[in-house]
Point group: C3
Chain length 479, copies 3
């Protein structure tokens, strides 16, 4: 099915007319992507993508989880056992994966994967073939042909997509060498900035915590054997990230509780983490204190704090044991923000330097807590709908739930949150269409003038994310 | 008000055009009803229904609860005191009940009761009179006249409704004699299958638990004085049900926690249940272990496990004491699934034999937990909107909440869940209209082709429920 | 932007046609406002409003919170330090406040503040200027001119708005002298009735509790040094309020738990509240018992019990310390009703004298708990969407969530809940438009006849609130 020019813009003729105009006015605007998972190394190396399955199926857990839910084992999708050396290579295996995907294409009807995929095939690959058991080989060959072209290398794609800024997500121990290489490119217009994500350092007692601390100590040049040492190491890494253009950090936690501990108590727990005697409850207290400390650091150095709360990670332990994380069974949990963040916001919520972007996969939090918090605290912004919620109907519900309480200017602007590089334009385009449609509906319902709607549509792809993520602030500082 | 041919299909002309075509293509498809509360005895006996009130008002707690909320005492609606011998009989009383209902007809505006009732009057009874104080007697007489006709006996009605399969809900001690009588009928096309529901055996300390165990012991031929004996008895009854065509069990619990106990611990609690010393907390632990054990049984014998979680039963104790259960004051509670079912799904969630259909009356769970679980676990299906949620606007919210994450093929297909036999075609028809409308909206919004929409509309009334409830699997096994 | 005559009525032509008719039939109906925060003193004194900022900006925390969220300090909006003597006066300061508001006007796009403001400017002030930095002074002068006219005094405005009944919200120690003065006015048609709100007396250990008890003891003539004394004092004040026309009480609590204590236990906690030794947990138990006792009083004296549950008050402690309560940082919390109110409803839920109107700012409770409770208990009504939820899209979600389970007649009718006197007609008008639109949609979707829709639209502004708040009952009693 060829993507229709009016897709997602609306159904009513009056809405459609205005939504088209709004959409057209921003359709070609440069893409600002302040949160995502494309790797800097991939961009710095700029190697060709091997084949369609390795690019589009295997690494995308949006795709693999639905195939798995239909009874396809992850092995048949090229997902590698945790700790394995290299991804599957060779023509045969990817072609098999691709066939499996195409046979199950009908199961994606009504999902955003279907929408993005179709859009990407048309927009990026300029291929007009509907996936099916019959068309699988033809499609595989056509896409493979395109991937062999020089214009399909990662950096060329991002330029072609008009990506002005792309934020990666990086471990504090990342040396940022790839970001440095990218910054030195004089002939490539995209600005790639790192984002520090220190989740793995927050919870003692988890596998690899101690090893991570040792690596971090080495990178930061600070001993992490103590709690205060760990804080100092993270602080220093934030500074290094900032020097390389970072304007934000990210943090993903099971809940949003930020509860300070005394240094003494935190140090005691740190030691019990190191000697393996820490209990689950103590580890939780340690993590919640770390979230609080990250907040204080953000209020101090001005890096925007992104908080992604409320996901039960790795729900199916056997799959996690075999294939590792991000394999499609992270499940949203009921999520609360107002009470959990109260102490942190009482401390720094009105501090000018502090900025907090809150993301939820429990959509009940949008109207209940996120919009009211963003509607009072100057520091708080409502993050765009994320993960399961970055789909047309969910995005509509998001705007309907948030706007009446927080307006447009206390939302973050669209976040693609993707490692699927080729889908970036499709995702941003989806968001622009949906915002155009939402604004057109307000215009037709006589709640907004057409001119205002145009101003807001433009702001949503430009000044709103620029402001929420302080993209110009750091730039100025660096210039 | 005469039901309009386009009801619920949509409002926009383009949607309406496509929805009509989709609806027409499935309007006459046979009805598959894999979960409901029509009694097998009623069908086996096939007696005429006594009168409109006894058929349509008194036993339907959807109707009586709203009348009660308007200040009508349940006695005036023919609801009998708990433990009373027989329902009210005689012409006078039912006519009074009917009048009360008709006087309050305006209070049902906007509710599904109003929709089903009107639809049923027109579709089944071919009567075109709007209920009111004035029309009550005329309507009563007209309906009584129809009920006296031979074609209005239960089995004739089901044939006339094109019900291909009807699942009943039955106690493990049910001898299934009525199901046997029905299976022997050579000239009646509907397949009636039992569904085992063992809720009442899960919680020691509740009234009648011990007596139930004794009756179950007798039926199953296994002593239920021990925990393992109870498990074995239930296992045997499941096997008997399966032999008579059952493909599923049902389970209704206040929460979805499934937490295993050691056999020793379970046995200790069992004993304290029998001697009356069990605490509420222990009884809860026992119940949650039973839910876990039912899951293991399902993974073993392949009977589909239906789970209806999250209802505070019998909220108003005085009404419960006087009139018994199912009298309109079961109230939904906040309901969670991901964490409560984690241990069970870790054990059998990817086992090929296991299948779990999850139902909620807390609609926040649809997008937050049910769709993500069904979008990963091959065993998990999202149950159709149930109870308070099986109404037009709620069904639309259900599809909007679930489809983007789980698609159509990991939902259960429509469930009528009713003891109101005459409303069965109206309920399924409502679902077919709403699905047609939802699909048409995706088509007009350019997210789906018309041809795909037709394929999905058909699947939703046929292969999707057949697959979710393994309706053909057991049939094959039996043939 | 000039308000369009069709605003909020719908977009589809068929819906719009019917919604217009429905709206027109109730647009001019007298306003019944059974819950709000206009002060009786303001009406009794009937002084002119000083200036637009003091009238429309400073006291409205819907407005100030969004400006604060944009980084404007509350001081710059005229909000006074807690405990300060008088509000800002003089021309200069209000004009500055007004300019700040106008400069930030674009931030209100999509919010109800924008909608009400625009509507009020046109409807009440007959001014057609869009707020902006440029127009701020012109607008300030134009509005100041209108406020100087005699017809813009508070009582004249209410008459002009056709307010038939207005309920205020009052402390139990209020002498009601202003209500008495208003009742004596022979030439003013609005009926102003008090509403007793005793929140501040429920929780020992909070600042000022003891001082309040002393004042209450004086007003009521009953010693409040004991728990039973406090109950008796409140009972007497309820009687005084009732004698002056009150038909309801109000109660705002962080959660809806109503849990009785023995008199002995309550007395012990009362004493610990007085001597300052009470713990947070004990204070909570005391409060939950008080809510239960208020329920019993309501079942006794027949005053309608309004319950506004689920708000975390004064989230930002520094702002509270500096500016006091109601300064824009009350944040909704997850809210439950069915289990918390079970014991109270088991006691008085079917008692004829008892009536309970339940309000929530957690909209998940509408379909999950409030509609099911109101759909069984004769005493329970679903309160109109409140606070963050009294905005167009949220109101639409409310009707969609509630109607299918509880119908229209177990909802409360619209509540403006405002201290912004000038916005009263705009708020009620908004509600009438949205209900007309909702009803029109049911008509066009063939779920309701046009005639029924007319009857319901009329009932929603007349007999439904009259009945829910027993407005005629008390009147009869008094006559």
């Amino acid at each position: 099915m060829r993507p229709h020019p009016d897709r997602l813009l609306g159904i009513d003729a009056a809405i459609l007319r205005i939504a088209r105009e709004l959409y057209e006015s921003v359709a070609a605007a440069p893409i600002i992507s302040p949160h995502g998972h494309v790797s800097a190394e991939l961009l710095a190396d700029n190697r060709r993508f091997p084949d369609p399955a390795t690019l589009l199926i295997t690494p995308d857990h949006y795709v693999t989880r639905l195939l798995h839910s239909a009874g396809v084992p992850l092995e048949r999708l090229g997902v590698e056992a945790a700790g394995a050396e290299t991804p599957l290579t060779g023509a045969a295996a990817p072609r098999e994966i691709w066939r499996t995907f195409c046979e199950h294409w009908y199961r994606f009807a009504g999902t955003p994967v279907r929408y993005w995929f179709e859009d990407t095939l048309a927009r990026v690959f300029e291929v007009d073939v509907t996936p099916s058991a019959e068309s699988a080989d033809e499609l595989f060959d056509a896409l493979s042909g395109r991937l062999a072209e020089p214009s399909f290398r990662p950096r060329e794609l991002l330029s072609c997509f008009s990506v002005e800024l792309l934020a990666t997500t990086d471990d504090p121990t990342d040396t940022l060498e790839h970001h440095r290489r990218l910054a030195e490119l004089s002939d490539w217009p995209t600005r790639v900035v790192p984002t520090l994500r220190a989740d793995a350092y927050m919870t003692p007692g988890t596998a690899g915590w101690q090893a991570r601390l040792e690596r971090l100590a080495e990178t930061a040049g600070v001993d992490c054997g103590s709690y205060l040492g760990l804080l100092e190491a993270i602080r220093r890494r934030r500074e290094c990230f900032r020097a390389l253009g970072a304007t934000a950090t990210d943090c993903g936690v099971a809940d949003a509780w930020a509860v300070p501990l005394s240094d003494e108590r935190a140090q005691a727990l740190h030691e019990r983490g190191l000697d393996g005697s820490i209990t689950a409850e103590e580890a939780l207290a340690y993590r919640r204190n770390m979230l609080f400390q990250f907040g204080l650091m953000a209020a101090d150095d001005g890096l925007v704090m992104q908080l992604h709360a409320g996901v039960l990670r790795n729900h199916h332990a056997p799959t996690f044991a075999r294939f590792g994380p991000d394999t499609g069974h992270d499940i949203p949990a009921p999520t609360y923000f107002a009470e959990p963040l109260r102490e942190l916001l009482n401390r720094v919520g009105t501090s000018e330097n502090f900025r907090l972007v809150l993301f939820t996969v429990d959509e009940t939090a949008f109207s209940r807590e996120l919009a009211p918090l963003a509607g009072f605290y100057p520091s708080v912004y409502v993050g765009a709908p994320w993960w399961f919620l970055d789909a047309p109907a969910a995005v509509r519900r998001f705007r309907a739930a948030v706007t009446e309480t927080a307006g447009f200017h206390k939302t973050s602007g669209f976040i693609d949150d993707t490692r699927a590089l080729c889908s970036i334009p499709s995702r941003h385009d989806m968001s622009r269409r949906l915002d155009a449609s939402y604004l057109a509906e307000l215009v037709v319902g006589h709640q907004l003038s057409e001119q205002e709607a145009h101003t807001i549509a433009r702001a949503l792809v430009d000044e709103i994310p620029r402001n929420a993520f302080r993209l110009d602030r750091n730039r100025e500082r660096l210039d």
